[in-house]
Amino acid sequence: MSELSQYAILFGLSIGVFGLVLSLYGLARAIGRARAEPGKDVPATAGTLSRDPVWVRYHARYAGYALLFLAFDMEMAFMYPWAVVYREEGLIALLDMGVFLAILFLGLLYGWSQGALRRQ
């Protein structure tokens, strides 16, 4: 099977999921519809609609981790092609990536020592 037809299959499956969900919704609609009553559509908190927008309440306190995550995530993009040719290249590949990972790991240790691995 060619690459293009494989991706066409995946695209078709994604569209198919929308079809499945729509038909489920249609089935549920056929069984009955929601009755509009006051107070029913308020999100589960105190029974009344929140006065302020709710998104101000949550603070992401893991910024240090997030920055380190960016560095490590970039590194993974290099590691997949490296992993595939690893056995062909042999010891050279181990040393190359070893140096790279050692630098990255030192970065992690430095971040740790500076308190990045903590919920601020």
Partner: protein
Amino acid sequence: MSILVVLLSLAAGAYALAVIERWAVHGHLSLTGPAWAALALLGRESLLARKSDRLFFELGPVLLLVAGLMAVAVIPLAPGLIITDLATGALFLNAALAYVLVALIMAGWGPNGAYAMIAGWRFLGQFIAYAMLIVMPITAVAMRAESLSTVEIVTSQEQLWNVLYQPMGFILFVVAAMGLAWLPPLDLPDATGELAGGVEAEYTGVRLAVLRLARMVIILALAGATVTFYLGGWLGPWLPPWAWSAIKILAVAAAMLSIGRYMPRIREARYLALSWKLGISLALANIFVVGVIALVVPI
């Protein structure tokens, strides 16, 4: 043809998993229970929260289902029984499962409810904890197989399953997979009893049915990934390949579901600290150890 077979077995697997979940979590073994529960959900009202972000609210569960199905598409059940044998299968699996995060944040943001919103953002923190521990063990698996194709990865384990070849990677991957599928004790985004259901709090009726189905598909995809990468996929004596796949996948999923019964929920801060301080170090050590073994031993 094989696509249809995989899709049908996915449906059967999702149903079997629903039965197993009920049994593992609540201790009731009922073969018809999930069918009645699904029918009841279809019959219930599906409410739309006031002032909701309609697009995100509607798309969240659907995107979750799409992500789960895309991940299932690269998991081989038997030789030739796979939806698409992509050359970059292992990478594609990661890419598909990255959308779990997007879908959950959309589902949390959508209804404009405090509990759902907190749950969605919590999952972002959880993502930063588990993400590296999904990709790093897979790298070590690809190093041994010299390929990212999931079929090649299974055939590379003919001599020795990866669970024995790289046990550290197996443990890290399973724990990270449980974080990805927000299974207890890492169930921060729905946190039953603490956040009133979290991202599931505002979903009712048929929308909740879609969300639950998507969750089952994602658990199956992750159990399938564990089996493919570490437990030798369809390989095994006596029984036909598809039977081995089914047994292994359901057993891994059942184990993942039942661990939560015996452990308290882990806080986000603690999970982040554990996976970055201990997990990443172990994952890097795992890559190095597998690298040395792969150069010395020819299997």
